[in-house]
Symmetry: C2
Subunit: 232 residues, 2 copies
Protein backbone atom coordinates (compact mmCIF):
# COMPACT_ATOMS: atom_id res chain seq x y z
CA UNK A 1 0.00 0.00 0.00
CA UNK A 2 1.29 3.48 -0.85
CA UNK A 3 1.46 5.44 2.40
CA UNK A 4 -0.90 8.39 2.58
CA UNK A 5 -2.57 7.85 -0.82
CA UNK A 6 -5.78 6.14 0.39
CA UNK A 7 -6.14 8.91 3.01
CA UNK A 8 -5.73 11.63 0.36
CA UNK A 9 -8.36 10.01 -1.90
CA UNK A 10 -10.79 9.60 0.99
CA UNK A 11 -10.32 13.10 2.35
CA UNK A 12 -10.30 15.11 -0.87
CA UNK A 13 -12.56 13.08 -3.14
CA UNK A 14 -14.40 10.71 -0.81
CA UNK A 15 -13.03 7.83 -2.88
CA UNK A 16 -12.19 4.50 -1.25
CA UNK A 17 -10.53 2.02 -3.61
CA UNK A 18 -11.38 -1.51 -2.48
CA UNK A 19 -8.66 -3.26 -4.48
CA UNK A 20 -5.46 -1.72 -3.09
CA UNK A 21 -3.33 -3.71 -5.53
CA UNK A 22 -4.93 -1.82 -8.41
CA UNK A 23 -4.17 1.49 -6.75
CA UNK A 24 -0.57 0.50 -6.11
CA UNK A 25 -0.21 -0.62 -9.73
CA UNK A 26 -1.64 2.68 -10.95
CA UNK A 27 0.96 4.72 -9.08
CA UNK A 28 4.01 2.56 -9.77
CA UNK A 29 6.42 3.24 -12.60
CA UNK A 30 8.39 0.49 -14.36
CA UNK A 31 11.66 1.88 -12.94
CA UNK A 32 10.44 1.13 -9.40
CA UNK A 33 9.38 -2.40 -10.35
CA UNK A 34 12.83 -3.05 -11.82
CA UNK A 35 14.50 -1.95 -8.60
CA UNK A 36 12.32 -4.27 -6.51
CA UNK A 37 12.43 -7.51 -8.51
CA UNK A 38 11.35 -9.75 -5.62
CA UNK A 39 8.16 -7.91 -4.72
CA UNK A 40 6.19 -9.15 -7.74
CA UNK A 41 5.02 -5.61 -8.52
CA UNK A 42 3.18 -4.33 -11.57
CA UNK A 43 3.61 -0.95 -13.23
CA UNK A 44 0.90 1.42 -14.36
CA UNK A 45 1.01 1.15 -18.14
CA UNK A 46 -1.77 -1.36 -18.76
CA UNK A 47 -4.16 0.39 -16.39
CA UNK A 48 -3.27 3.68 -18.04
CA UNK A 49 -4.21 2.20 -21.43
CA UNK A 50 -7.68 1.54 -20.07
CA UNK A 51 -7.95 4.79 -18.10
CA UNK A 52 -7.21 6.80 -21.22
CA UNK A 53 -10.18 5.22 -23.03
CA UNK A 54 -12.43 5.73 -19.99
CA UNK A 55 -11.52 9.42 -19.80
CA UNK A 56 -12.08 9.90 -23.53
CA UNK A 57 -15.59 8.53 -23.24
CA UNK A 58 -16.49 10.40 -20.04
CA UNK A 59 -15.34 13.71 -21.51
CA UNK A 60 -16.93 12.99 -24.90
CA UNK A 61 -20.29 12.20 -23.38
CA UNK A 62 -20.20 15.24 -21.11
CA UNK A 63 -19.52 17.71 -23.89
CA UNK A 64 -21.89 15.90 -26.27
CA UNK A 65 -24.74 16.43 -23.80
CA UNK A 66 -23.72 19.84 -22.53
CA UNK A 67 -23.32 21.42 -25.97
CA UNK A 68 -26.19 19.96 -27.97
CA UNK A 69 -25.61 22.31 -30.90
CA UNK A 70 -21.85 22.02 -31.18
CA UNK A 71 -20.92 20.32 -34.46
CA UNK A 72 -18.62 17.31 -34.49
CA UNK A 73 -15.50 19.17 -35.57
CA UNK A 74 -15.74 21.53 -32.64
CA UNK A 75 -16.59 18.75 -30.19
CA UNK A 76 -13.41 17.04 -31.34
CA UNK A 77 -11.34 20.20 -30.88
CA UNK A 78 -12.81 20.87 -27.45
CA UNK A 79 -12.13 17.32 -26.34
CA UNK A 80 -8.55 17.61 -27.56
CA UNK A 81 -8.20 20.78 -25.49
CA UNK A 82 -9.45 18.97 -22.39
CA UNK A 83 -7.84 15.58 -22.88
CA UNK A 84 -4.13 16.10 -23.41
CA UNK A 85 -0.84 15.72 -21.64
CA UNK A 86 -0.60 19.27 -20.38
CA UNK A 87 -4.08 19.47 -18.89
CA UNK A 88 -4.00 15.97 -17.38
CA UNK A 89 -0.59 16.70 -15.83
CA UNK A 90 -2.03 19.85 -14.27
CA UNK A 91 -5.01 17.88 -12.92
CA UNK A 92 -2.61 15.31 -11.42
CA UNK A 93 -0.70 18.09 -9.67
CA UNK A 94 -3.91 19.74 -8.49
CA UNK A 95 -5.00 16.41 -6.99
CA UNK A 96 -1.65 16.07 -5.27
CA UNK A 97 -0.93 12.78 -7.04
CA UNK A 98 2.71 13.67 -7.84
CA UNK A 99 3.91 12.95 -4.31
CA UNK A 100 2.63 9.37 -4.33
CA UNK A 101 4.21 8.00 -7.52
CA UNK A 102 6.66 5.15 -6.91
CA UNK A 103 9.76 5.81 -9.00
CA UNK A 104 13.16 4.16 -9.32
CA UNK A 105 16.16 6.11 -8.03
CA UNK A 106 17.42 7.09 -11.47
CA UNK A 107 14.04 8.47 -12.51
CA UNK A 108 13.76 10.33 -9.22
CA UNK A 109 17.12 11.96 -9.79
CA UNK A 110 16.10 12.86 -13.33
CA UNK A 111 13.08 14.74 -11.86
CA UNK A 112 10.56 12.43 -13.54
CA UNK A 113 8.11 13.32 -10.76
CA UNK A 114 7.74 16.80 -12.25
CA UNK A 115 7.47 15.63 -15.86
CA UNK A 116 4.14 16.28 -17.61
CA UNK A 117 4.25 12.99 -19.51
CA UNK A 118 4.53 10.94 -16.30
CA UNK A 119 1.91 13.00 -14.46
CA UNK A 120 -0.52 12.65 -17.35
CA UNK A 121 0.06 8.87 -17.36
CA UNK A 122 -0.58 8.67 -13.62
CA UNK A 123 -3.77 10.70 -13.90
CA UNK A 124 -5.01 8.25 -16.54
CA UNK A 125 -3.92 5.18 -14.61
CA UNK A 126 -5.69 6.48 -11.51
CA UNK A 127 -8.85 6.82 -13.62
CA UNK A 128 -8.30 3.28 -14.91
CA UNK A 129 -7.99 1.92 -11.35
CA UNK A 130 -11.09 3.78 -10.20
CA UNK A 131 -13.02 2.42 -13.18
CA UNK A 132 -11.88 -1.16 -12.65
CA UNK A 133 -12.69 -0.91 -8.96
CA UNK A 134 -16.08 0.78 -9.16
CA UNK A 135 -17.26 1.33 -12.72
CA UNK A 136 -17.89 4.51 -14.64
CA UNK A 137 -20.12 6.46 -12.21
CA UNK A 138 -17.36 7.39 -9.71
CA UNK A 139 -15.18 8.46 -12.64
CA UNK A 140 -17.92 10.85 -13.79
CA UNK A 141 -18.27 12.16 -10.21
CA UNK A 142 -14.50 12.71 -10.04
CA UNK A 143 -14.50 14.50 -13.42
CA UNK A 144 -17.35 16.67 -12.15
CA UNK A 145 -15.07 17.74 -9.33
CA UNK A 146 -11.77 18.13 -11.16
CA UNK A 147 -12.30 18.55 -14.89
CA UNK A 148 -15.72 19.86 -15.87
CA UNK A 149 -15.78 22.96 -13.61
CA UNK A 150 -12.82 24.21 -15.68
CA UNK A 151 -15.18 24.66 -18.61
CA UNK A 152 -17.08 27.29 -16.63
CA UNK A 153 -13.87 28.87 -15.40
CA UNK A 154 -12.96 29.48 -19.04
CA UNK A 155 -9.93 27.21 -18.89
CA UNK A 156 -10.51 25.86 -22.40
CA UNK A 157 -11.85 29.08 -23.90
CA UNK A 158 -8.93 29.52 -26.26
CA UNK A 159 -9.99 26.36 -28.02
CA UNK A 160 -13.61 27.20 -27.79
CA UNK A 161 -14.80 29.52 -30.46
CA UNK A 162 -17.68 31.49 -28.94
CA UNK A 163 -18.04 33.71 -31.98
CA UNK A 164 -18.78 30.76 -34.23
CA UNK A 165 -21.13 29.27 -31.68
CA UNK A 166 -22.97 32.60 -31.32
CA UNK A 167 -23.44 32.73 -35.07
CA UNK A 168 -24.92 29.24 -35.09
CA UNK A 169 -27.20 29.78 -32.12
CA UNK A 170 -28.37 33.26 -33.16
CA UNK A 171 -29.20 32.15 -36.69
CA UNK A 172 -31.15 29.04 -35.77
CA UNK A 173 -34.44 30.68 -36.64
CA UNK A 174 -33.28 32.57 -39.67
CA UNK A 175 -30.61 35.09 -40.59
CA UNK A 176 -29.62 37.87 -38.18
CA UNK A 177 -26.96 40.58 -38.23
CA UNK A 178 -24.14 40.17 -35.72
CA UNK A 179 -21.83 43.14 -35.18
CA UNK A 180 -18.79 43.58 -32.96
CA UNK A 181 -18.15 47.23 -31.99
CA UNK A 182 -15.07 48.59 -30.28
CA UNK A 183 -16.33 50.49 -27.22
CA UNK A 184 -13.01 51.66 -25.84
CA UNK A 185 -9.29 51.12 -26.09
CA UNK A 186 -6.81 52.38 -23.51
CA UNK A 187 -3.74 51.66 -21.40
CA UNK A 188 -0.06 51.88 -22.38
CA UNK A 189 1.17 50.25 -25.58
CA UNK A 190 2.57 47.19 -23.80
CA UNK A 191 -0.61 46.69 -21.76
CA UNK A 192 -3.42 47.74 -24.00
CA UNK A 193 -7.03 46.99 -22.93
CA UNK A 194 -9.90 46.63 -25.39
CA UNK A 195 -13.60 46.71 -24.71
CA UNK A 196 -15.90 45.28 -27.39
CA UNK A 197 -19.69 45.01 -27.53
CA UNK A 198 -21.64 42.51 -29.60
CA UNK A 199 -24.96 43.51 -31.16
CA UNK A 200 -27.47 41.16 -32.65
CA UNK A 201 -29.86 42.93 -35.03
CA UNK A 202 -28.84 46.16 -33.30
CA UNK A 203 -29.46 44.96 -29.74
CA UNK A 204 -26.45 44.89 -27.45
CA UNK A 205 -26.30 41.40 -25.92
CA UNK A 206 -22.80 41.27 -24.52
CA UNK A 207 -19.65 43.20 -23.80
CA UNK A 208 -16.15 41.87 -23.24
CA UNK A 209 -12.73 43.10 -22.26
CA UNK A 210 -9.32 41.76 -23.19
CA UNK A 211 -5.76 42.53 -24.13
CA UNK A 212 -6.61 42.01 -27.77
CA UNK A 213 -9.69 42.86 -29.81
CA UNK A 214 -10.01 39.18 -30.68
CA UNK A 215 -10.09 38.12 -27.06
CA UNK A 216 -12.55 40.88 -26.11
CA UNK A 217 -14.85 39.73 -28.93
CA UNK A 218 -14.75 36.15 -27.67
CA UNK A 219 -15.68 37.29 -24.16
CA UNK A 220 -18.53 39.41 -25.54
CA UNK A 221 -19.79 36.50 -27.67
CA UNK A 222 -19.72 34.22 -24.64
CA UNK A 223 -21.86 36.70 -22.69
CA UNK A 224 -24.33 37.00 -25.57
CA UNK A 225 -24.61 33.20 -25.75
CA UNK A 226 -25.49 33.07 -22.07
CA UNK A 227 -28.10 35.78 -22.64
CA UNK A 228 -29.60 33.96 -25.64
CA UNK A 229 -29.77 30.66 -23.79
CA UNK A 230 -31.49 32.35 -20.83
CA UNK A 231 -34.19 33.57 -23.22
CA UNK A 232 -35.14 30.05 -24.25
CA UNK B 1 -38.32 6.15 -39.47
CA UNK B 2 -35.98 4.39 -41.88
CA UNK B 3 -37.93 1.58 -43.51
CA UNK B 4 -36.69 -1.90 -42.69
CA UNK B 5 -33.91 -0.85 -40.31
CA UNK B 6 -35.72 -1.51 -37.01
CA UNK B 7 -36.75 -4.93 -38.37
CA UNK B 8 -33.15 -5.74 -39.33
CA UNK B 9 -31.88 -4.77 -35.88
CA UNK B 10 -34.55 -6.79 -34.13
CA UNK B 11 -34.15 -9.85 -36.28
CA UNK B 12 -30.38 -10.08 -36.51
CA UNK B 13 -29.29 -8.58 -33.18
CA UNK B 14 -32.40 -8.58 -31.04
CA UNK B 15 -31.95 -4.83 -30.63
CA UNK B 16 -34.95 -2.51 -30.30
CA UNK B 17 -34.03 1.18 -30.25
CA UNK B 18 -36.66 3.07 -28.26
CA UNK B 19 -35.73 6.52 -29.52
CA UNK B 20 -36.30 6.23 -33.28
CA UNK B 21 -35.10 9.81 -33.83
CA UNK B 22 -31.65 8.78 -32.63
CA UNK B 23 -31.60 5.85 -35.01
CA UNK B 24 -32.68 8.05 -37.91
CA UNK B 25 -30.00 10.59 -37.03
CA UNK B 26 -27.35 7.86 -36.86
CA UNK B 27 -28.12 6.70 -40.43
CA UNK B 28 -28.54 10.10 -42.08
CA UNK B 29 -25.73 11.86 -43.93
CA UNK B 30 -25.48 15.66 -44.15
CA UNK B 31 -26.15 15.50 -47.91
CA UNK B 32 -29.61 14.04 -47.26
CA UNK B 33 -30.40 16.71 -44.64
CA UNK B 34 -29.44 19.41 -47.13
CA UNK B 35 -31.81 17.98 -49.73
CA UNK B 36 -34.70 17.93 -47.24
CA UNK B 37 -34.45 21.35 -45.59
CA UNK B 38 -38.01 21.37 -44.29
CA UNK B 39 -37.92 18.09 -42.42
CA UNK B 40 -35.77 19.39 -39.53
CA UNK B 41 -33.43 16.40 -39.81
CA UNK B 42 -30.12 15.84 -38.10
CA UNK B 43 -27.10 14.09 -39.54
CA UNK B 44 -24.96 11.46 -37.90
CA UNK B 45 -21.73 13.29 -37.10
CA UNK B 46 -22.32 14.23 -33.46
CA UNK B 47 -23.57 10.75 -32.57
CA UNK B 48 -20.59 9.28 -34.40
CA UNK B 49 -18.26 11.41 -32.25
CA UNK B 50 -19.74 9.75 -29.18
CA UNK B 51 -19.95 6.26 -30.70
CA UNK B 52 -16.27 6.36 -31.57
CA UNK B 53 -15.37 6.95 -27.90
CA UNK B 54 -17.80 4.24 -26.76
CA UNK B 55 -16.26 1.71 -29.14
CA UNK B 56 -12.72 2.63 -28.07
CA UNK B 57 -13.59 1.94 -24.45
CA UNK B 58 -15.52 -1.26 -25.10
CA UNK B 59 -12.69 -2.71 -27.20
CA UNK B 60 -10.00 -1.47 -24.79
CA UNK B 61 -11.69 -3.04 -21.80
CA UNK B 62 -12.28 -6.32 -23.62
CA UNK B 63 -8.67 -6.78 -24.68
CA UNK B 64 -7.38 -5.47 -21.32
CA UNK B 65 -9.28 -8.25 -19.54
CA UNK B 66 -8.84 -10.96 -22.12
CA UNK B 67 -5.06 -10.58 -22.44
CA UNK B 68 -3.93 -9.93 -18.88
CA UNK B 69 -0.26 -10.29 -19.74
CA UNK B 70 -0.18 -8.19 -22.89
CA UNK B 71 1.92 -5.06 -22.34
CA UNK B 72 0.51 -1.63 -23.11
CA UNK B 73 2.29 -1.18 -26.43
CA UNK B 74 0.79 -4.36 -27.81
CA UNK B 75 -2.65 -3.62 -26.40
CA UNK B 76 -2.46 -0.32 -28.27
CA UNK B 77 -1.44 -2.01 -31.51
CA UNK B 78 -4.13 -4.64 -31.20
CA UNK B 79 -6.79 -2.00 -30.54
CA UNK B 80 -5.60 -0.06 -33.58
CA UNK B 81 -5.98 -3.24 -35.65
CA UNK B 82 -9.54 -3.69 -34.42
CA UNK B 83 -10.72 -0.09 -34.33
CA UNK B 84 -10.05 1.45 -37.71
CA UNK B 85 -11.85 2.52 -40.83
CA UNK B 86 -11.31 -0.67 -42.78
CA UNK B 87 -12.49 -3.05 -40.08
CA UNK B 88 -15.45 -0.92 -39.02
CA UNK B 89 -16.52 -0.56 -42.65
CA UNK B 90 -16.42 -4.33 -43.02
CA UNK B 91 -18.50 -4.73 -39.84
CA UNK B 92 -21.06 -2.25 -41.21
CA UNK B 93 -21.32 -4.28 -44.43
CA UNK B 94 -21.56 -7.53 -42.50
CA UNK B 95 -24.43 -6.07 -40.45
CA UNK B 96 -26.15 -4.97 -43.65
CA UNK B 97 -26.13 -1.32 -42.55
CA UNK B 98 -25.06 0.01 -45.95
CA UNK B 99 -28.53 -0.36 -47.44
CA UNK B 100 -30.17 1.86 -44.83
CA UNK B 101 -27.99 4.98 -45.01
CA UNK B 102 -29.89 8.10 -46.09
CA UNK B 103 -27.78 9.90 -48.68
CA UNK B 104 -28.26 12.89 -50.93
CA UNK B 105 -28.57 12.23 -54.65
CA UNK B 106 -25.08 13.50 -55.46
CA UNK B 107 -23.48 11.28 -52.85
CA UNK B 108 -25.52 8.32 -54.05
CA UNK B 109 -24.28 8.86 -57.59
CA UNK B 110 -20.72 9.16 -56.31
CA UNK B 111 -21.11 5.67 -54.75
CA UNK B 112 -20.69 7.01 -51.21
CA UNK B 113 -22.70 4.03 -49.98
CA UNK B 114 -19.76 1.75 -50.79
CA UNK B 115 -17.10 4.04 -49.33
CA UNK B 116 -15.20 2.71 -46.30
CA UNK B 117 -15.06 6.13 -44.63
CA UNK B 118 -18.85 6.52 -44.67
CA UNK B 119 -19.50 2.92 -43.62
CA UNK B 120 -17.07 3.28 -40.72
CA UNK B 121 -18.82 6.50 -39.65
CA UNK B 122 -22.22 4.80 -39.77
CA UNK B 123 -20.98 1.84 -37.75
CA UNK B 124 -19.77 4.27 -35.09
CA UNK B 125 -22.92 6.38 -35.14
CA UNK B 126 -25.04 3.24 -34.77
CA UNK B 127 -22.96 2.39 -31.69
CA UNK B 128 -23.49 5.94 -30.42
CA UNK B 129 -27.26 5.67 -30.88
CA UNK B 130 -27.39 2.29 -29.15
CA UNK B 131 -25.34 3.70 -26.25
CA UNK B 132 -27.50 6.81 -25.89
CA UNK B 133 -30.64 4.71 -26.05
CA UNK B 134 -29.64 1.89 -23.71
CA UNK B 135 -26.20 2.39 -22.14
CA UNK B 136 -23.02 0.42 -22.54
CA UNK B 137 -24.23 -3.16 -21.87
CA UNK B 138 -26.04 -3.66 -25.20
CA UNK B 139 -22.99 -2.24 -26.98
CA UNK B 140 -20.83 -4.89 -25.31
CA UNK B 141 -23.36 -7.56 -26.29
CA UNK B 142 -23.32 -6.32 -29.89
CA UNK B 143 -19.50 -6.30 -29.93
CA UNK B 144 -19.58 -9.85 -28.58
CA UNK B 145 -21.62 -10.80 -31.62
CA UNK B 146 -19.84 -8.80 -34.33
CA UNK B 147 -16.34 -7.82 -33.27
CA UNK B 148 -14.83 -10.04 -30.60
CA UNK B 149 -15.37 -13.42 -32.29
CA UNK B 150 -13.00 -12.17 -35.00
CA UNK B 151 -10.18 -12.38 -32.50
CA UNK B 152 -10.68 -16.15 -32.32
CA UNK B 153 -11.08 -16.40 -36.08
CA UNK B 154 -7.59 -14.94 -36.38
CA UNK B 155 -8.80 -11.83 -38.17
CA UNK B 156 -6.32 -9.57 -36.35
CA UNK B 157 -3.50 -12.10 -36.20
CA UNK B 158 -1.25 -10.15 -38.51
CA UNK B 159 -1.12 -7.40 -35.93
CA UNK B 160 -0.89 -9.84 -33.11
CA UNK B 161 2.56 -11.11 -32.55
CA UNK B 162 2.13 -14.61 -31.13
CA UNK B 163 5.87 -15.30 -31.15
CA UNK B 164 6.57 -12.39 -28.82
CA UNK B 165 3.65 -13.34 -26.59
CA UNK B 166 4.86 -16.94 -26.43
CA UNK B 167 8.29 -15.75 -25.36
CA UNK B 168 6.75 -13.64 -22.58
CA UNK B 169 4.39 -16.32 -21.34
CA UNK B 170 6.89 -19.19 -21.56
CA UNK B 171 9.57 -17.26 -19.68
CA UNK B 172 7.41 -16.06 -16.84
CA UNK B 173 8.97 -18.52 -14.40
CA UNK B 174 12.52 -18.25 -15.65
CA UNK B 175 14.41 -18.63 -18.92
CA UNK B 176 13.49 -21.35 -21.39
CA UNK B 177 14.71 -22.25 -24.88
CA UNK B 178 12.23 -21.65 -27.70
CA UNK B 179 13.03 -23.16 -31.09
CA UNK B 180 11.19 -23.06 -34.41
CA UNK B 181 11.94 -26.02 -36.66
CA UNK B 182 10.96 -26.42 -40.29
CA UNK B 183 9.08 -29.73 -40.54
CA UNK B 184 8.31 -29.70 -44.24
CA UNK B 185 8.23 -27.48 -47.28
CA UNK B 186 6.43 -28.38 -50.48
CA UNK B 187 4.16 -27.30 -53.31
CA UNK B 188 5.05 -25.40 -56.49
CA UNK B 189 7.15 -22.21 -56.30
CA UNK B 190 4.15 -19.92 -56.60
CA UNK B 191 2.17 -21.80 -53.92
CA UNK B 192 4.74 -22.99 -51.45
CA UNK B 193 3.51 -24.47 -48.15
CA UNK B 194 5.60 -24.50 -45.00
CA UNK B 195 5.10 -26.51 -41.86
CA UNK B 196 6.91 -25.33 -38.74
CA UNK B 197 6.99 -26.79 -35.22
CA UNK B 198 7.75 -24.86 -32.05
CA UNK B 199 9.67 -26.55 -29.24
CA UNK B 200 10.01 -25.23 -25.72
CA UNK B 201 12.96 -26.75 -23.89
CA UNK B 202 12.84 -29.53 -26.46
CA UNK B 203 9.13 -30.32 -26.08
CA UNK B 204 7.01 -29.81 -29.15
CA UNK B 205 4.06 -27.60 -28.15
CA UNK B 206 2.70 -26.49 -31.47
CA UNK B 207 2.83 -26.86 -35.21
CA UNK B 208 1.69 -24.44 -37.86
CA UNK B 209 1.27 -24.26 -41.60
CA UNK B 210 1.43 -21.28 -43.89
CA UNK B 211 2.54 -19.88 -47.22
CA UNK B 212 5.59 -18.37 -45.56
CA UNK B 213 7.85 -19.61 -42.79
CA UNK B 214 6.99 -16.51 -40.80
CA UNK B 215 3.28 -17.18 -40.99
CA UNK B 216 3.71 -20.86 -40.12
CA UNK B 217 5.77 -19.83 -37.07
CA UNK B 218 3.05 -17.47 -35.90
CA UNK B 219 0.43 -20.22 -36.21
CA UNK B 220 2.66 -22.65 -34.30
CA UNK B 221 3.29 -20.05 -31.56
CA UNK B 222 -0.46 -19.48 -31.24
CA UNK B 223 -1.03 -23.19 -30.75
CA UNK B 224 1.74 -23.38 -28.13
CA UNK B 225 0.17 -20.43 -26.29
CA UNK B 226 -3.14 -22.25 -26.13
CA UNK B 227 -1.35 -25.35 -24.83
CA UNK B 228 0.53 -23.36 -22.16
CA UNK B 229 -2.60 -21.60 -21.00
CA UNK B 230 -4.47 -24.91 -20.74
CA UNK B 231 -1.73 -26.16 -18.40
CA UNK B 232 -2.33 -23.40 -15.85
Amino acid sequence: MIKGLPELLKKRFNIVIKNQDLLDEAFTQASYVNEHPNQNLKFYERIEFLGDAVMQLVVSEYIYRRYPRLPQGRLTRLRAAMVNEESFASFARECGFDRYIRLGRGEEKAHARERDSLLCDIFESFIGALYLDQGVEPVVAFANQIIFPKLDEGRFDEFFDHKTELQEVAQQNGPVTIEYKLVSEDGPDNDRAFKVAVLIDGTRLGVGEGHSKKHAEQVAAKMALTALKAQK
